[in-house]
Amino acid sequence: MKYASWVLTIGILIFLASALMIIKEKQPKEALLVGQMFPEFSLEQFGTRTLLTYQDMMRDDSYRFINIFASWCQTCVIEHPLLGVLSEGFPIQMYGVAWHDEEGALRHFLQKNGNPYDYILMDPQGQLVVSLGVTGVPESFLLDPQGRIVWHYRGAITSNAVNEIEAIIKK
């Protein structure tokens, strides 16, 4: 009989030990990147193929909306109209970063869904995407005139997002 209780105790201890490991293993949920500076980058623009860098982007003093998307992303289509709303309704510069995309498909995508962007950058190797820690699309950032991220959203933006951005800009 004593065996049984020993075995059970040991078994439970093992279980607890491994449960602790899993809690340790899984990192705490990463906070959004709000408050951090936007990383450096240097990407070709869609169509013209000219390079655009972080410095080029920061040349003027406006808010910038960076939208990571792709032509192969269906969820991006859902948010596209709202991007148009942002573009037309607010004095912000719209940057689209096409991740792992190619010109033909992208052109088709923009023709079909409209083009709310002022600038479109191609990121085929994930240069900017990886330094942002982005793992899926769509994902969007709002930068203040100094280049600090003041708003960060994962997934297709909603009308809520538009309101939040409005509030930030009007401040």
Partner: protein
């Protein structure tokens, strides 16, 4: 189906009578009543499937008019409700047998009836196969074509015969433990039960594995999938139980271990039922069901576990050690063997339960990858094999006579030679061959005691062969993927594989695209095989039928892959050396079990 439903109720009433002890003299009649009604119930379900009776949800969800008759019948247990009914029926089968057996105590029958009631009420109130459709339909949804295979069709009944028996082993152990009647007759009976269950568990598990090998298209036979693990654990415990009973029989010792194993086997089989049906697992095997069912079974498992532990604790002082003589070497080896079996079972249990508990408690989805289990097995298999090798050298008195050593001396060099000749010079393979040779020698030495010793020799030889096969398979397996056009070839291991052409056909309930593949070795054409991709229009699903070229104990396994649409066809080719050694060794285990069962009583 009225008949089906009412039969279930009749069975329930019979079992309630059985438990309540109001007709003890008529226990056989009552048991027979329960068994018969359950049988009728299953028959009516089969009838409904065969006659395309889509007024039942069960038939609608899992059958189709175009399904071949054989699979309509076997498809009855290819789903949760039907298989549960089958399990209950088989458990009742044991119940009837026990009721008719005069040596089995009334309390055992009552306890078993109680367990049956729990199973039956689970079936009737949460998973009835006789739920009626509320709309009229004329066609069913069909069944996953992956499940329409001979091996998988008969695998559940055979496996369930094993599972169901564990319930009787449990009852027989715990009742006689409490009543302190663990005498020779008990040991003999429990041993037979355990062997019977073990045989069917072995067959059931290997059929499942064989199915996976042929059907899943990877040439793999064991994936440490939770559902596989959950069938393996009772088998491990049952193996330990058999060994424990043998010691009990010979030396009147290891009583506690025997009882604990008898209890654990059943508890683990319950765990199997829970995992497979709780809907928490990702597996081609898992029945998709809501957690409600899972909670019920989990509660039942907890009840049984805590209950048996409590009872065991309470009554354990009655059982002092009956013999204080020094434990002989052989006995210690078997004890070690059992500890190892239990230890390995615990490892598997941790790896299998862990994701489940994490999911339920922390809402974290996590998997324990296969290498954990296989690495653990690699560690454990060494002591197992060494113990099995040691056993024929030591007798029950604990001595190692010189003549014995001399007799067995040639076995190691011969094993080495075999391994070297077959290019299998790995430690585990050599040990495995040594075990095979030792067992063969043992069988020859004791040819007169052929039933008893041969059972052990054959079983251990089977183990040895299995170890050799698995080791060689692991080290020497090869695979390749290639796109071939007509007439093009690829070389793998000692074969040349050529795609001659592709054909397309129509069958009863599917269409198929077939490759005509020729296999050459040593310049000569050996055979032509036909890997297929089948398309089942009802489910809009593809399945692959691998083509297997059996070359002695090894297989060449060819699977059709995607095509580029024009003139190039994808082929996956796997070279699986000694894979048939595994199936052969299982056969040996089963025959050994049968030998052990039919041997004359001492």
């Amino acid at each position: 189906m009225f008949l089906g439903k009412i039969s279930l109720w009749i069975a329930l009433i019979c079992l309630l009578i059985q438990v309540s002890h109001c007709m003890p003299a008529k226990r056989r009649l009552v048991a027979a009543g329960a068994g018969l009604s359950l049988f009728i119930s299953l028959l009516s379900l089969v009838f409904a499937h065969v006659t395309n009776d889509f007024s039942l949800v069960n038939v609608f969800e899992h059958s189709h008019t175009s399904k071949p008759l054989f699979y309509k019948i076997t498809g009855v247990w290819g789903n949760h409700e039907g298989s549960m009914l089958l399990l209950v029926l088989l458990t009742a089968g044991y119940h009837v047998w026990a009721a008719f057996h005069k040596n089995i105590n009334q309390k055992v029958i009552q306890l078993h009836a109680l367990i049956l009631i729990a199973f039956l009420s689970f079936l009737m109130f949460t998973s009835s196969p006789f739920v009626a459709m509320d709309v009229v339909v004329t066609e069913g949804l069909g069944q996953n074509p992956l499940l329409q295979d001979v091996g998988l069709a008969i695998h559940p009944p055979l496996l369930y015969i094993g599972y169901a028996g564990l319930s009787l082993i449990f009852c027989y152990a715990i009742v006689e433990f409490v009543e302190n009647r663990l005498d020779e007759k008990w040991v003999e009976m429990q041993l037979r039960l355990a062997l019977f269950v073990w045989i069917f568990l072995t067959i059931g598990i290997s059929l499942g594995s064989w199915w996976a090998y042929r059907e899943l298209g990877w040439g793999g036979y064991w994936f440490w999938d939770p559902v596989e693990n959950v069938s393996l654990m009772p088998w491990l415990i049952c193996t330990a139980l058999i060994h424990s009973l043998l010691v009990l029989q010979a030396k009147r010792r290891l009583k506690s271990m025997t009882i604990i194993l008898s209890l654990t086997g059943f508890i683990l089989s319950l765990l199997g039922i829970f995992l497979v049906r709780s809907g928490i697992l990702t597996s081609v095997h898992a029945f998709a069901q809501d957690p409600g069912r899972g909670l019920y079974v989990l509660g039942f498992i907890a009840l049984v576990t805590i209950g048996s532990l409590a009872i065991y604790g309470k009554y354990s002082n009655i059982h002092r050690a009956t013999s204080s003589e020094r434990a002989c070497f052989r006995e210690i080896m078997i004890l070690l063997n059992n500890m190892l079996l239990i230890g390995f079972c615990a490892c598997v249990l941790l790896g299998t339960l862990y994701p489940l508990v994490m999911q339920m408690v922390l809402d974290e989805s996590v998997t324990v990858a296969a290498p954990y289990f296989s690495q653990m097995l690699q560690i454990f298999i060494f002591p197992f094999i060494i113990l099995a090798i040691g056993v024929p050298l030591v007798n029950w008195q604990g001595s190692v006579p010189v003549q014995t050593l001399l007799w067995y001396a040639p076995t190691l060099p011969i094993a080495g030679l075999i391994a070297w000749y077959n290019d299998q010079v790995y430690i585990l393979a050599i040990l495995g061959w040594w075990l095979v040779m030792l067992s063969a020698w043992q069988g020859i030495k004791h040819y007169k005691k052929w039933q008893r010793i041969w059972a052990m020799a054959l079983a251990h030889a089977g183990l040895g062969l299995m170890v050799v096969s698995m080791t060689v398979l692991a080290y020497q397996t090869k695979e390749t993927q290639v796109m071939l056009g007509y007439g093009e070839s690829i070389e793998i291991a000692r074969y040349k594989v050529t795609l001659d052409k592709m054909m397309v056909y129509m069958r009863h309930n599917y269409m198929l695209r077939e490759g005509v593949v020729s296999i050459y070795s040593e310049g000569q054409k050996q055979t032509v095989i036909h890997p297929q991709v089948r398309y089942y229009p009802v489910q809009q699903q593809n399945t692959t039928e691998a083509a297997i070229y059996r070359d002695g104990l090894s297989d060449l396994y060819v699977v059709l892959g995607q095509t580029n649409g024009a003139d190039s066809f994808g082929l996956r080719i796997y070279y699986r050396p000694m894979i048939n050694g595994i199936w052969l060794s299982v056969g040996m285990l089963v025959v050994a079990g049968i030998f052990a069962m039919i041997r004359k009583r001492k």
